[in-house]
């Protein structure tokens, strides 16, 4: 059902990410997403970065639609439908890993669990949510590809160090798919459960059209969060995606 909502407030999270907050009473679970419609322009899937009665989406300006969302102001209206998909199923002691704006999808899980956290970004001014995260968890590690702050390297390298020292039952993560691919490899080698949130080009959002499939799995219905056992069987994960016409193309 399309629900019109009014943007209540806007928060700048980093040099290229903003969060839009709106009141919407729909029930949502950590890791679920919504289809966000800008009337007359486009409709795109977005992870919820806040899931209470006041909800938020956090947007990195990449294409025409996301750049337009960055120009929206308080009082402007968008329309949302959802929440859709299967979110995280937290179990035991969790390590959360967020890469870039993928951290948006991890915020609800972080707030509800207070789990240990790794945030990765290319450089310091692209780190998102860092100060807010420190309110919810004691243990936060930061990696940047250029070494401008924290660990000099990527989030998976840092995760391997953290896992060597600590004891965890599962890893929950969202970020660029290449990061998730190597993260999954690392977890498999350790025999550690992981749950990863994937992204694909999406049309219907409700499990009908099949445009977001990875192998036969619908990111909008069986996902967006997939567990280790499912990921292990996916031949396209980390390698291929589908374009808007449904052709298989390299990631």
């Amino acid at each position: 059902m399309n629900e019109p909502v009014m943007i209540k407030r806007i928060r700048r999270e980093s040099s290229d990410v903003v969060s839009l907050f709106f009141d919407w009473d729909a029930e949502a679970a950590p890791g679920q997403f919504v289809m966000v419609c800008i009337p007359g322009l486009d409709e795109v899937p977005m992870s919820l970065s806040t899931i209470g009665p006041e909800k938020s989406i956090s947007i990195k300006a990449i294409g025409e639609t996301t750049r337009f969302l960055h120009t929206m102001g308080e009082g402007d209206r968008i329309s949302v439908r959802g929440p859709y998909g299967r979110g995280f199923r937290p179990d035991g002691r969790i390590l959360i890993v967020g890469g870039g704006v993928g951290m948006a999808a991890m915020m609800p899980l972080l707030r509800s669990t207070g789990a240990d956290l790794i945030i990765g970004a290319r450089k310091e001014d692209e780190l998102v949510f860092l100060s807010e995260c420190r309110e919810y968890t004691k243990n936060v590690w930061v990696s940047t590809d250029d070494g401008s702050v924290g660990f000099h390297g990527n989030a998976v390298q840092l995760m391997n160090q953290v896992l060597d020292e600590g004891s965890y039952d599962m890893v929950a993560a969202c970020g660029p798919e290449v990061m998730l691919y190597y993260l999954h490899q690392a977890c498999m080698e350790r025999g550690l459960e992981c749950q990863l949130s994937l992204e694909r080009f999406m049309k219907c959002g409700v499990g009908l059209c099949g445009s977001c499939v990875v192998d036969g799995q619908r990111v909008c219905a069986e996902g967006p969060v997939f567990d280790s056992a499912t990921l292990e069987k996916l031949k396209e994960f980390g390698k291929f995606k589908r374009d808007v016409a449904g052709r298989r193309v390299r990631l």
């Binding site: 059902m1 399309n2 019109p4 289809m35 419609c37 009337p39 007359g40 486009d42 409709e43 795109v44 209206r77 329309s79 439908r81 049309k203 219907c204 959002g205 409700v206 499990g207 009908l208 059209c209 099949g210 445009s211 499939v213 192998d215 036969g216 799995q217 619908r218 219905a221 589908r242 808007v244 016409a245 449904g246 052709r247 298989r248």
Partner: protein
Amino acid sequence: MTSLKVNVSGLRLKNPSMVASGIMDETGDSMIKMMESGAGAVVTKSIGLEPKDGHGNPTLVELDYGYINAMGLPNPGIDAFGEEMEVAVRAGVTVIGSIFASCEGDFSLLAGRMEDMGAAAVELNLSCPHASGYGMEMGIDPVVVKAIVASVKDSVRVPVFAKLTPNTHRLMDIGNSVQEAGGDAVVAINTLKAMAISPESARPILRNRFGGLSGPAVKPVGVRAVFDLYSVLDIPIIGVGGITSWRDAVEYIMAGASAFQVGSAIGHKGVQVFGEICDGMLAFMRDYGYSSIHDMTGVAHE
């Protein structure tokens, strides 16, 4: 012995359920997943000669009793679709190749390609309500329908099904055209042309403005259409439109369908809907003494 097996103009299926075109059928692995979920056959997304992006989002409106979609026939084109067909056919999926084109020659060409790729039957999309120059724009003219079906029948050996639009007062004439041209079955119904408007933005929600209504809202229209077609046709009818439960499927069969397709329910009920429908229908048939789908087809006319 009660059996769900059917034979639709030579197409033999383990049960009468099929995945409707456009739903989870654009990739080989998707089709395998649907077959594993219990469908008797999978109809592919409608495939054309060239790759097509379809309409921009929003392409779907969710309603209380259904969906309006305006996908706009997105597809990878028949050449790229070959690898998807190979994956599905190799895994043993019974694939019905859905095709769309703007002239009879292209329909024949695509049907031949589908047959070569291993399709067990072809389904002609003469009914999509939201793609300019295709589908329903041709499928409301009995003369055009007859020419297309005749042309395709000349080019393939596999059964040829024609999917019809309910957006016409000449449904029975069109059904007769399919039969006269040698078509092996009709599939009824495609979606009803529809629109939703957002009061807040004062404009239609869909990028394409209008789309096709599917889901429980259209089931009574579909049942009536199948009933009407059964009263004039000798060729089998495949019922489709809003089937969510075994009761819905039985309604279509009693109206005259020899098999049925499920689309929208895969979204709101999940892929296990095929197993639920088939199990429920089998129990009903045992309780009421129907030994086969054939026994039950069209009984509402008696």
